[in-house]
Amino acid sequence: MNAVELTSVTKRFGSVVANDNVTFAAQVGEVHALLGENGAGKSTLMSVLAGLYRPDAGTIAVNGAVQHFRSPRDAIAQGIGMVYQHFMLVDSLTVAENAMLGQAGHGVRLHTAPVERELAELGQRYGLAVDPRARIWQLSVGEQQRVEILRLLYRGAKVLVFDEPTAVLTPQEAAGLIGTLRDMAADGLCIIFISHKLDEVLAVADRITVLRHGRTVTTVERRATNRHELARLMVGRELMGVVADQPQAVAGDAGVVNLEVRGLSAEGDKGVRALQGVELQVRSGEILGIAGVAGNGQRELAEVITGLRRATSGEVRIGGQDTTRCSPREIVAAGVAHIPEDRNGTGLIPSLDLQDNLILKHYRQQPLARGLFLNGAAIGNFADRLLSKYNVAAPSRAAKARLLSGGNQQKLLLARELSGQPRLIVAVHPTRGVDVGATEAIHHLLLAQRSRGAAVLLISEDLDELLALSDRIAVLYEGKVMDTVPARGADVGYLGLLMAGGAQSGAADHGRPMDTGGIINQDVAH
């Protein structure tokens, strides 16, 4: 029986059509994956189902009866709940208090004890261990996600929608979540799993619906499909796959050390220790990958190296020169390119045109500037040259940067950063939120820079990306480098363990492939 059924749903934002006549149905007792690239309309469709958006046309049916949701409250009343990428929890409240939040029927005094008991039971049943009396800020990201799930179950959700739930998890946590989702489906719940990662979709789903450009492509049985077919359905063409094995570093160990970080410590925004005695070396012609779960010091590391954050102790040397106390401009001048994590907030100025965005790091150099004046003709040439060289799909150099798609914005940023022949590239999540085609292009650009002799510090949460591109991988956990291993032949289980802070370098687990860690990486279909 269909637990939910969306028929001919259309949702537009202004002139942008996010969902175009989409039909989707999920059954009781199944894990149904919603697969598509970024911007395919997955999250919008599920937000319609969860009552967050109202469709412009089309119907929602729950257990066969047409429903009109005016708010998420209406949806949860019909047993539909969604776990968003950004958790909707109140940090200062306890788990039980969060679960009760927004519910009517409480007196003046909160009676938390029965709620706590019920949450504990639910947690036990689905393997979602979390202390109902803990306050949210005390919990890890993975635990907070469990709270979100428990809260929905507590409110009687029978249909649970997960919006890219593994993005914030370690491989082990992700594997655990996948087990939980399978259990929940077996228990008669309906699980909808939004993702753009083929492997995890194949690992978790019973059926898979593919969305592309806001339209339904098809729905397939997990057993009747494979990785290649899904990739083709998702992007509308054959994928080349993650970049094939690359030759080892051009210069190998003989390369000049372009970046050297010694004993580096720094504080995060809240004044807590974000980096503690970090030691790194990146040579010319080498890509050093930094793996780790978000919030373990990656952002701070990139900011200290690029001069945007002060180190509390330690040293950064770029090309042999001590740059620890240099200003961002001096570090740019030392030949450092920075692809920041927050593309629109830091790397680009969305409200300015492409040309203005492209000259951001070069506007005072000849021939773009002559004295105090900008040279319009030279700037135009410069912009046009970069746009065509880096294949940025844009109407013209005078278009506003915010009108570009995520992938093209990232290409725009790379065009600017790589145009100066940098000796060091600090790339933070360079392919996050970018579609598959652009991801491929960005990977090739980074590899080309490596071949040219640049040193690349690649910070990513995507282990597959790190394994495919890096020469060596260092794992950052709570601001410390846990270990650095060669990427070729690296054991995903070991890396995952390091990311969870579970093993120190050389611990007994080293080398033993973990049965859970492999789920994310293995090619299920073959």
Binding site: N21, V332, P350, L403
Partner: protein, 374 residues
């Protein structure tokens, strides 16, 4: 195909973000705002027992109906546009300089002091340029106080620049009542009259003076700085995205200081031109609030230097027309500021509407929304 839409209570409105404000809407907003403000003003005039058409007609006639009216409007355009140009460049960097009034007074004080006590002997060709410089420096220093507090200590410049207005105005009152008071002034609060060499030449028989040229030059220079120099580019980047500016290595504190200095300096030149062009002395209530009206002007002109001149001219007309009402019809001069207030009110409301739109939540089937049927 059967279509279902959600059923909602009738007459429900909701606010939606416009994906891209169209050029037409952007141009229409100020016009409609002014029209609505005039309508509301008319209502208020009706309540006051006046015929709004007659009142508006008298204002229009007073401001633009005669050579002298137009000339007086231009006279008020000069300080208004200079101060508004200053306010506008600060606003571009999201520095909310509300202190143009005080900066105007400090420019006036500096220029007066120079002409009366430092180099009264200098010939016009030397003295006037030096007074412009003094006016600029006086206003710039006064603008640098909130600028430095913001740049180095992150103190909110809205509060500090506003408060410093009262300090500057009271300081100028102290001067004209105390140390700088004209001994032959029959007790009137004001300095001695400036030497003839310190008077800005006028276009007789009107009171239009050379300050007009200063305003036009200032607009031109600002336009070139903003559009053609890398300094203008830095101001734009900082204004649009401060984090990107820091990431690009732009020195933000230094730019805050520079922009606040230029912003205050332009208001200071406004003060200088009022002293050298109209009053020929420093006196009480030198400015009827030009520094505050300048905020509305700059905003209405969308911070564009050339539009600032035009909008300043229109607002000067409003001021002159308002004065005219007082003289010819015995109405309170408060009519003009009241209209200014309503215009700003509608303008800010309209600004929201150009970025967001109100849509009526539809009832019943809406077949036009289904792309399958188009």
């Amino acid at each position: 195909m059967k279509l279902e839409t959600r059923r909602v209570r009738p007459g429900l409105w909701r606010i939606e973000r416009r994906t891209a404000p169209t050029a037409g809407v952007a141009a229409l907003v100020p016009l409609v705002s002014i029209l609505l403000a005039l309508l509301l003003g008319a209502l208020l005039l009706l309540l006051a027992g006046q015929n709004p058409l007659v009142v508006y007609g008298a204002m229009l006639n007073g401001a633009f109906g005669s050579l002298n009216g137009v000339a007086e409007t231009i006279v008020k355009t000069i300080p208004l546009s200079l101060a508004a140009l200053g306010v506008g460049i600060a606003f571009r960097m999201l520095l909310w300089n509300i202190g143009a009034e005080g900066q105007l007074y400090f420019g006036a004080i500096a220029a007066t002091g120079l002409a009366l006590y430092v180099m009264p002997w200098a010939p016009t060709v030397v003295l006037l340029p030096m007074m412009v410089l003094a006016g600029f420096v006086g206003g710039a220093l006064w603008g640098l106080i909130p600028g430095a507090l913001r740049a180095f200590l992150n103190v909110n410049e809205i509060i500090t620049s506003l408060m410093l207005n009262y300090v500057a105005i009271l300081f100028s009152e102290y001067l004209v009542h105390g140390p700088w008071r004209n001994p032959q002034g029959l007790g009137f609060p004001g300095t001695r009259t400036l030497p003839d060499s310190a008077w800005l030449p006028r276009l007789s028989p009107t009171r239009v003076h050379l300050g007009l040229l200063l305003a036009v030059i200032a607009a031109g220079v600002l336009f070139v700085i903003l559009r053609r120099t890398w300094w203008g580019y830095e101001i734009r980047v900082i204004g649009e995205n401060q984090r990107a500016a820091r990431y690009a290595g732009i020195n933000i504190p230094r730019n805050m200081l520079l922009v606040m200095a230029v912003s205050g300096g332009l208001a200071g030149i406004a003060g200088m031109s009022e002293v050298a062009g109209i009053a020929h002395q420093l006196q009480r209530s030198l400015s009827p609030g030009y520094g505050y009206t300048a905020i509305i002007v700059a905003w209405l002109a969308k911070l564009n230097p050339w539009s600032t001149l035009m909008v300043a001219f229109l607002f000067a007309g409003l001021l002159v027309g308002g004065d005219q009402l007082q003289i010819s019809m015995g109405l309170p001069a408060a009519i003009a500021p009241m209209l200014q207030g309503t215009i700003l009110f509608f303008l800010l409301g309209g600004e929201v509407l150009s970025r967001y739109r109100l849509t009526k939540v539809r009832r019943g089937p809406t077949p036009d929304l289904n792309p399958a049927q188009r």
